[in-house]
Symmetry: C2
Subunit: 491 residues, 2 copies
């Protein structure tokens, strides 16, 4: 297991990139900006998907699938959407290749030009609301609570594995409601789902809030988000939930006959999280020894490594190890017994440490005599010797402890890196020298927000939902403000 | 529930299309050839995915994700692949839109032309083998047993929901092996997985065999397939598993150091099933009353409908119904209690019949008195009155029975529609007037195969694995043949 990669201190960006590649999570592909998600990385993503999907279903949502392609003209239908949304999209213009007459491979067949170009979906509001028009006639057809798991493409010039890639995987929920209140309730319900998922599964504490108008989703009336803080003091937006008002219903002419027998436009929400969460997960917990995974999302929660010199020792150890494996599996724990003879125990130790397996058990000849097992936890790197009889219960409890500990550690980090700035000097000093979240008063104008961004690269990450009112003065303009907002540099 | 759709007898193609749309499985989208998979259809697909995914994992496979786009030049690297594979592909030529200077929406930004066009994957052998080159150095890196769940695009001029769409969902397995034997073993193992899935989950009997060279996957040394027979007597290819030899390893220069310390090309397989299976499922079991679903794949296995006049009756009935629901759920049965007051029982009966829910329970005031429930099964439309005490065990058994019955019915249909042709006259008569599978001798030449296709539209569906040797004469050319093959017209 190669560990020749920089520490976080030395070069955080390089540390992250090397970690992703060397831990076999993902890699760059032959297609610029597109990544390959490797089996180990994908296994983590599958666990994320599974947990989120269940939470969506438990809150009444169903899955569906809409086309990958969107007719170009659809983008112009919702004015704010087309204005605000980045136009870096993959454009399909032809539908056929042909053999190169020169005999050198294939070329695009110019006779097969599309009448209207198709855009590879960067997000699906337009095609979905075009579809909903036929699904919705009366209030009886509402609400529609649909989610889709899909790939989307946003052409990015500067990409980073998981954090910013041209193609990424995500889920996008698109719901339709009778009333404004119901749609807002849905937007907030999903924000809670995202929060619970981030905190309970990923062990990543997040702030809940809304975005400033500047940072709102193009076409949204209000964008809610969850924001997490990474170990380098930069913020990462981990999920968004948009209240879309009647904007898309108006753009795509989606009306329903209300209970009062009136024709009204439908109210909408959309919400999504993506493979970007993998980046948040990795950066929240990992250390200079490699990946650290919360047990709930670790594909392998416990690895058992036999320590032996002779092959007959291995047999004896295997018997005990397989018994332990079975006992642990009865508790629903995901266990791997690595008895490969092609690698030495030391190599295996370092491999699983690097890959973030939460608990490692080692069993040697002496352990057989003493009926003991060496237990090592990845988060603290602590080891202890446990009696074999108690191993299943202890390991089960330890997994719970590690899950909680990782959350608490990340929460402590965030608290230690959240500062209050009352003056412009303080603000600049914090942003430039400390990083982290900076709580500051803001006058509420896009102008000030822009200027702060220009001068410090910090943006308003969120206007926290739970922030109490407080009279103050904008840290930049000095104008009156009633509430602090969260600033940070961000991914 | 609108049932104004033709019978299978009247117009099979229309029956299928109307069924798919009216049962809320899928519909055409605004993008030519691309479908929307609606929540009810997607819920069935999700169950298929879940079962298949578990079978893949149980046989040692892991999931990963590769890019949606493939550089155009990759297609020319494997000669047979580029020659044989349809060139109807979606081609991405630009990566940016811009506002139309005329102020009318957006146009393609001609400055953002890609140096090399990207093809939306029609299948992923090329990009995956380009990736494997870096994953494989030694025999220790083998085998690679990777699957991906993805969307693919093959531009089709004439599309049919689920059966043939420009974009479809599928899984594609791509494995890499040390030896020819191991790769062939893998190809056959997957064929067995597909067979078990088709027969045990979908209740669709299939024939296992290989394809004639003509019908082989472009770039494969051997293509194995499972073939099913639809109710209109046409065959449907339900899954394929390809032994690719060293073709892609050679094209993409993927070598490994063997145990004997020799540099060798890697052996490959690929295999896939798609949302086409939805078409096979629908056409195998459904009838003139609508969809019929095998219990194992039905999103709702049992629906309970209350029969009442007054609201206080509903309360009493609900109490009993919810108790039954809970009891059934203890057995892992998926139950829906439909107590909506906005629809009448008759409407609900017809709705669930149309949507293929395997078992319907109805409870009215008289049932309360008698402690009975009316049980109706979708497959035979039979009804019986059961005592409430025995309902959970009986329903559980009934679901098993229905699953088996559907399989047996489909198997009987196939057997009744499999015929032997010994002369060209017999052959033509069977293909033109009876349909179904026709077993006939074939001289093994592509020429004869072509001619038979031209004259009858029948193709060799498969060369069955279990067909015994038998000396005979080709039904078309009269030349000697040692084995019968399966001919049919096909989807």
């Amino acid at each position: 297991m190669a560990k020749d990669f920089p520490t976080r201190e030395e070069n955080y960006a390089q540390w992250y990139n090397d970690l992703v590649i060397k831990a076999d999570l993902a890699e760059n592909s032959a297609v610029r900006g597109c990544m390959v998600i490797k089996p180990y990385g994908y296994a983590i993503w599958e666990r994320m998907q599974g947990a989120l999907d269940q939470m969506f279903k438990d809150t009444g949502h169903v899955n569906a699938y809409f086309p990958l392609f969107i007719p170009k003209s659809f983008f112009s239908k919702e004015a704010a959407h087309v204005e605000g949304f980045a136009k870096e999209c993959a454009v399909v213009t032809h539908y056929r290749l042909k053999n190169d007459p020169d005999g050198k491979g294939v070329i695009v067949d110019e006779d097969a030009k599309l009448e209207e170009e198709l855009i590879v979906r960067p997000t699906s509001e337009t095609i979905i609301w075009d579809t909903y028009r036929n699904w919705i006639q009366s209030y009886r057809d509402l609400p529609i609570l649909v989610n889709q798991w899909a790939n989307v493409v946003r052409w990015e010039m500067r990409t980073r594995l998981f954090l910013r890639t041209a193609e990424f995987l995500w889920q996008e929920g698109h719901t339709a409601h009778e009333t404004r209140e119901e749609a807002i309730e849905e937007t907030e319900k999903i924000l809670d789902v995202y929060t619970r998922f981030a905190e309970e599964w990923m062990a990543v504490p997040v702030l809940q809030g809304t975005k400033s108008p500047n940072e709102r989703f193009a076409g949204a009336v209000e964008t809610y988000c969850i924001e997490a803080l990474m170990q380098d003091g930069k913020a990462l937006q981990a999920g968004t939930s948009h209240f879309l008002g009647q904007n898309f219903a108006k753009a795509f002419d989606v009306k329903f006959l209300s209970k009062e027998n009136k024709l009204e436009h439908v109210w909408a929400t959309s919400w999504g999280v993506s493979t970007r969460l993998m980046g948040a997960l990795i950066m929240s917990h990992s250390d200079d020894n490699g990946l650290v995974l919360p047990p709930k999302l670790a594909p392998t929660q416990v690895v058992i490594v036999p320590i032996y010199r002779k092959l007959e020792q291995l047999e004896e150890i295997s018997e005990v190890a397989l018994k332990i494996k079975k006992d642990l599996e009865k508790h629903g724990i995901r266990v791997k017994y690595d008895d490969r003879d092609t690698f030495k125990p030391g190599w295996k130790f370092s491999e699983y440490e690097f890959k973030g397996v939460p608990i490692r058990l080692a069993i040697g000849p002496r352990d057989l005599e003493n009926k003991t097992v060496e237990v090592a936890r990845r988060d603290t790197l602590e080891k202890e010797i446990l009696h074999i009889e108690e191993i299943d219960i202890k390991v089960k409890n330890l997994l719970d402890q590690i899950q909680k500990k990782l959350y608490q550690r990340a929460l402590n980090f965030r608290e230690n890196n959240t500062h209050v700035a009352n003056t412009w000097e303080e603000f600049k000093d914090l942003i430039n020298n400390q990083g982290g979240f900076v709580l500051a008063h803001w006058d509420g104008t896009a102008e000030t927000e822009e200027k702060i961004k220009e001068e410090t690269k910090a943006t308003i990450r969120t206007i926290p939902l739970d922030m109490k009112k407080e009279n103050g003065k904008c840290v930049y303009s000095g104008k009156p403000s009633q509430k602090r907002v969260i600033f940070a540099r961000a991914y």
